[in-house]
Amino acid sequence: MLKRVLVANRGEIAVRIVRACRDLGIESVVGYSAADRDGLAVHLADDAVCLGPGPVARSYTNVPALLYAAAKTGADALHPGCGFLSEDPLLASACRQVGLTFIGPAPEHLALMGDKLAARQAMQAAGVPVLPGSDGPVETLEAAVATADRIGYPLMVKAVAGGGGRGITVVPAPADLAGALTATRAAARTLFQDDRVYLERYVDGGRHVEVQVLADAHGQVLHLGERDCSVQRRHQKLLEESPSPGLDPQVRERLCAVSVAGARSIGYVSAGTFEFLVQDDGQAHFLEMNTRLQVEHPITELRSGIDLVTAMIRVAGGEPLPWSQADVVLTGHAVEARINAEDVDRDWAAVTGRVRDLRLPAGVGVRVDTHLVEGHQVPPFYDSLLAKVITHGATRDEALRRLDRALREFHCTGVPTTVDFHRRLLRHPDFAAGRHRLDVVAAVTAAAPPNPVTDTNPERTGTDG
């Protein structure tokens, strides 16, 4: 059993991990930046250590600082949370070298899935459906043209080191291939210091469906159902729900089965997520595997009753999962709305400021994961996630009604937030009917009234700013 976990993250996910440690009866230490000195996680943890100043390169992604922090505070494990270094094989292998348990997958699996081409090949070998594409990196324009003719247009030029929508260029027709190749290679060199690219067929629209897997070091690999993350803007997820509305049960069953097979084929251990693009005709293709805890993990927790964070910690400590697949029972419908400090009317610009007049929602079927407290200063250095409002109901309709109720209760001033966007989304006919696709955010904002949702109740809802 692990004894003391260094939480190498901030914001709501750091709070989430501190609470999981508390539930397990083990101690937590939060490594924080000087900009997060007064953060909720720092106050809730057993101990805290200042890693460096606000900019991430000198604090949250500073590997030496994290290792010194663990040494200084006697931590025997490190949880990387989401983002930052959570999928960086360098941190995971550095932890291994100094005898610190990394609460996540092995560095080899982080490296494999971080190489999008190697991931594609490994998953194809395991029987996971992938889009038609090149067998290796494309080196020359001649090779690209030949491969592109085989794949067909439209297609994508993708950076081998990309992921999360970065390093991708869509090529509508043969005339655009040469330019896309040069541009993607140059961008990949700058972004990832790796200019290898490959080709893959492009499919428009559809839905983003992902399968949660959980595996221990004793050969047990479970799936915990799927999540639908089709409400996205520029590859940033805004709202997630489970189950995916309208997904053919046979497609669901197949995606869950191939995800388990894919994880098992590489000997994966810890929580992980297989992302798929699902077309209206039921065709589904592997996009990538996220080798970490996901921001949207709570909707799976509400449906399965399984605490994914404590499970990750137990598995990292060598314990077997106490469940078989038959024990995993998914009930009802769950939905998560991400409340970001963003000004939707100013092209979703991230905003800083001090949160005042805070009132968080509660009540039956509502869970709020947040680091917000009255007077919280939103620092300029990090992503803009303030809170996750998560609701659960027997049906999709009940979960969405509870979400609307919770969003209406959510109140703060000082920074604009995405609360009103979510309420408009809930009223959009395509979303309400569960037939929305990846383009739904543009449809909602285009149809936006000049003022936020009007209520019969005169009380101001949502946020000011």
């Binding site: 000087a34 106050h43 250590v49 890693l51 460096g52 606000g54 000198r58 600082a65």
Partner: protein
């Protein structure tokens, strides 16, 4: 440059908060060429109780006579350039601005710690070889 800007911004936010919360009446902060001087009317109400406030702050505050040099990064604190060498400075010794007074090792890189003012070393707060966190007080210097 960016670092000193970060520090300055952080200081401004902190000072503004302290003054607004009625915990301080007057504050003067100097970082390099930048100096901030804030005076607020002393509140009628007693200062708000703050759970994590490490020290009692008087309503009229001047710069304390002793200034503390803090760790510029995480790493291992050493008082001397090598185990068999004398320390950079000893208590009661005079230091000049910019003089090296300690070193912090991070992954084999030796990062010098410099005196940010001239004065006399009053106290060394950290044991040799201790891992220090960012902003941890290291050495107190009394301006001479």
């Amino acid at each position: 440059m960016t670092d000193s800007l970060d520090h300055a911004l952080h200081a401004v936010v902190t000072v503004a908060d302290l003054v607004r919360d009625g915990r301080l009446g007057r504050v003067r902060v100097q970082i390099g060429d930048l100096s901030i001087d804030v005076t607020a009317p002393v509140s009628e109400n007693p200062p708000r109780a703050v759970e994590s406030a490490p020290v009692e702050v008087a309503t009229q505050t001047e710069l304390p006579p002793v200034q503390v040099v803090v760790a510029p990064l995480m790493g291992v604190f050493f008082r001397a350039p090598a185990p068999d060498r004398p320390p950079f400075v000893a208590v009661a010794e005079r230091v000049e601005i910019g003089q090296q007074i300690a070193v912090i090792e991070a992954m084999k890189l030796m990062n010098p710690v410099l005196a940010d003012r001239a004065g006399v070393v009053r106290e060394v707060h950290v044991a040799d070889g201790e891992v220090v966190e960012f902003d941890q007080p290291l050495i107190s210097i009394e301006p001479a």
